[in-house]
Symmetry: C2
Subunit: 112 residues, 2 copies
């Protein structure tokens, strides 16, 4: 176990886990609260189904997100942050706040 990969900087570890286009966005949404699959889809309309489910699976494998299935009809699946996921909040918050300020400076429109 451990030591499968070589990192020269702690930042690389973080990038390896939450890098990519969508993971930070998914986590930021889940930071606001538990969400069903369909809710996430609506919150992230630019993401394809494939990417969303794929990234969710990877986040689950890395123990950052927890998936709960309710055996109902119709099916219901909830996603929430794990404790490890919650530990990412400072990163997510910093990214959200910087993005907000940058959007303001460069005149980018953001919803809400």
């Amino acid at each position: 176990m451990g030591a499968q990969k070589r990192y020269n900087c702690a930042v690389e570890v973080t990038v390896d886990l939450i890098g990519g286009k969508w993971k930070p966005v998914i986590l930021a949404q889940l930071k606001k609260g538990v969400h069903r699959y369909g809710e996430l889809r609506r919150l992230m309309p630019a993401t394809s189904e494939k990417m969303l489910i794929q990234q969710l699976r990877e986040l689950e494998a890395d123990n950052l997100v927890e998936r709960t299935v309710f055996d109902t009809v119709p099916p219901q699946v909830e996603y929430r942050l794990t404790e490890e996921g919650w530990s990412l909040v400072p990163v997510l918050t910093a990214m959200f706040e910087w993005g907000t300020k940058r959007a303001d400076r460069v005149d980018i429109e953001l919803p809400g």
Copy 2:
């Protein structure tokens, strides 16, 4: 001006600018101080010349990094954060600290 692209979340703006495998690492290195090109290469041995120069150019174009050329023999080029780049420090710090703790939890070795 502005409004070239559609974002549904402020986090997407940040990912768009400092996403990818190397930009956060480059910025984290420059946060520690001004560095020459060769120094960055040694600090990031896993990066190819092509990627390093390419990412530096993009960071420069986005006004996060400033490039200074000294007309000497041999040539000397310094890279430093711009004011806009410095505004990213909370993000970089959060990523560094989370990576450090995660490495500790999962038993990953980090230099220094």
